[in-house]
């Protein structure tokens, strides 16, 4: 009797989780896919099966090649942000993780410094973006300092509401998502391996490149996937820090939702999803992240 009962136990225990993901994740994705083929009127969406939404998402994109249409330009600019933010957060995250694991000698100090990196995440992202205004604005601290030092005669405008500001805030928000998984992989590296490399005459760079990087690969992959997917879909930082002037794949979808063009937004969401999945799939071919879990 006990066996019959316990066989079903994991199912009812997992049921609430499964139900949440079914109703609020899988079904919505399915609905998005279906609606991307529908038509719409001013106040409702109507069942249909048309490719119009995809056609308008890629309006004249292929005909006008090699000139880039709006959609391609938007994706290019999104991918550019993505690559830049990924590269900076990776270099920064790896360096900081390396510092914490290999240069800090006591465990307590390591925990304290790691916590120090996560505390700012206790406050709202929007607040952390507003916080750049008094620093980077026309009358901000940076411009005041530059002018007082005589480096520029008038305030620099591109510090705020610009691609620079968007990149800066995305790096600010996302570096920790690189630090934590890389730290996690790196702290499992047997220190004697590093000493062995050292004893065999490897330089610091050779040790990093041939021993530490390969052994931190899963952490790097997990951090990269997280940062890339967040940046690809971002529309908040791009909106707030770009002064609503810079296009991104996520921002396009948000604008269309605001205009109640749901089917077109859905088509764009599916395109974005496909691009993101392709990036993740490519990364997973290089590393098996299941080892880490």
């Amino acid at each position: 009797m006990l066996d019959v009962k316990s066989r079903w136990t994991p199912y009812w225990q997992a049921a609430p989780l499964a139900l949440v993901f079914l109703i609020f994740f899988l079904l919505p994705l399915l609905v998005t896919f279906i609606v991307s083929f529908w038509t719409y009127t001013g106040y409702s969406i109507e069942p249909a099966f048309v490719g119009d939404n995809y056609a308008s998402a890629f309006d004249k994109c292929f005909a006008s090649l090699p000139d880039l249409c709006t959609t391609f330009r938007t994706y290019l600019s999104t991918l550019k942000f993505c690559f830049l933010v990924w590269l900076i957060t990776l270099l920064l995250g790896f360096t900081i993780a390396y510092y914490l694991v290999f240069e800090i000698k006591t465990n307590t100090m390591r925990i304290v410094l790691a916590l120090l990196c996560t505390i700012p995440f206790w406050t709202s992202n929007v607040i952390r973006m507003i916080s750049w205004i008094p620093l980077l604005g026309r009358n901000g601290l940076v411009n005041q300092a530059l002018m007082n030092a005589g480096i520029t005669s008038q305030p620099i405008d591109w510090l705020l509401y610009s691609s620079f500001a968007v990149t800066l805030s995305l790096v600010h928000i996302n570096t920790v998502f690189m630090i934590v998984p890389i730290l996690n992989s790196m702290s499992r590296i047997d220190k004697s391996l590093v000493e062995a490399a050292y004893d065999n005459g490897a330089s610091a760079w050779q040790t990093i490149w041939n021993v530490i990087v390969p052994l931190s690969k899963t952490g790097i992959a997990i951090g990269s996937i997280f940062v890339i997917t967040v940046v690809m879909g971002d529309f908040i930082s791009v909106g707030l820090m770009g002064g609503q002037q810079i296009a991104s794949a996520g921002k396009v979808i948000e604008t269309q939702i605001t205009a109640l063009q749901f089917p077109i937004a859905a088509a764009n969401a599916i395109v974005l999803l496909a691009v993101v999945l392709m990036i993740i799939w490519t990364m997973l071919r290089f590393v098996d992240i299941r080892k880490e879990l």
Binding site: P10, L17, I45, P120, S124, V126
Partner: protein
């Protein structure tokens, strides 16, 4: 390796220090500027020091109402926290055994974590719009089919009544505690699940076996053995649940319906408010986050102190 500090150490320390400055600089700036004097502006220099902008905030800074948004976020955050803890514990238990579909469920949770939030948010909005269209459609067709029927019975009368009440009263199923709650859970539950994996990976089943051998029921085993041991980690799950929900904006953006949460309101205010009152708001929300996190830490400390006082060795390997 060589004794003493190498040059690398100092270079890396400098990089780390700069990173910390980069992390904290902006937040500290608005913390300071929120105490700007009444005649001060959005940037330095400080024109005196005052609580003026906090008074302004308290008096309300017009539409949208910040206090309502704050209360919405707190209520939603608490419900999300509670559900995240309960659902994560149950799922954590489930994943200790093999069951069909466990891999699919796990990868769904991970997918939910990494797919762009705007896509999830739009999907939930579309799903609820379809439900709304369906329900109003039912209402309309009931009235259409039965209102002018030749021989009305009690049953058709009831159907017409249902139809007209849908037409008169039904607005939307979308709201803070339906679509909004769901959207937040798709964000908090993957984190909760991963923490429970870490917890149960380190959990020694011998304690449970001992309890069973002594005749404890599964519930008693959970209540008196497992729960006390995993309690500190549950504070972690709760903390993650609350802070993730408190700060969630991308998934809320389309999914909460007409009620706004605090991050959404804040985002709206950034374009309309041009006084330091927005910094005051930033300081207040930061204070709430810190208060919640400190409460959780104190909770963990109390649990550990109780353990020591009662001389229990629960949780020790």
């Amino acid at each position: 390796m060589s004794e003493g500090r190498s040059r690398t150490f100092y270079v890396l320390s400098a990089i780390f220090a700069l990173y910390v400055l980069f992390l904290y600089g902006p937040t500290i700036t608005i913390l300071v500027l929120s105490f700007q004097g009444p005649s001060g502006g959005m940037t330095f220099p400080m024109n005196g020091v005052s609580l003026h902008w906090f008074h302004n905030l308290w008096a309300g800074i017009g539409v949208p109402n910040v206090v309502d948004a704050l209360i919405n976020s707190l209520k939603l955050g608490l419900v999300v926290t509670l559900l995240t803890v309960v659902i994560s514990i149950m799922a954590g238990y489930a994943f200790r055994k093999k069951f069909r579909g466990s891999n699919a469920l796990f990868f769904t949770a991970i997918a939910s974590l990494i797919l762009p939030s705007i896509v999830v948010s739009l999907g939930i909005a579309l799903e609820f719009q379809l439900v709304n269209q369906t329900i109003t459609g039912w209402g309309d067709s009931l009235v259409e089919n039965y209102a002018d029927i030749e021989n009305p019975t009690a049953w058709t009368g009831f159907l017409v009544w249902v139809g007209t009440s849908i037409q008169d009263n039904y607005q939307t199923l979308m709201g803070l505690f339906t679509s909004g709650l769901g959207a937040h859970l798709t964000w908090t539950l993957p984190f909760g699940l991963l923490i429970m994996f870490a917890v149960f990976n380190r959990f020694n089943p011998a304690y449970e076996e001992a309890a069973r051998d002594l005749g404890a029921s599964p519930w008693q085993t959970f209540r008196h053995v497992v729960f006390p041991i995993i309690l500190p980690s549950l504070f972690g799950v709760a903390l993650f649940g609350f802070t993730l929900s408190w700060d969630e904006i991308a998934r809320s953006s389309q999914a909460v319906g007409s009620a706004n949460t605090l991050p959404l309101t804040l985002r709206g205010l950034t374009t309309t408010v041009t006084t330091p009152v927005i910094y005051a708001l930033g300081t207040v929300t930061t204070a709430v986050s810190f208060a919640v996190i400190l409460t959780a830490f104190v909770g963990v400390l109390i649990v550990q102190a109780r353990r020591r006082r009662h001389g229990s060795d629960a949780g020790k390997a």
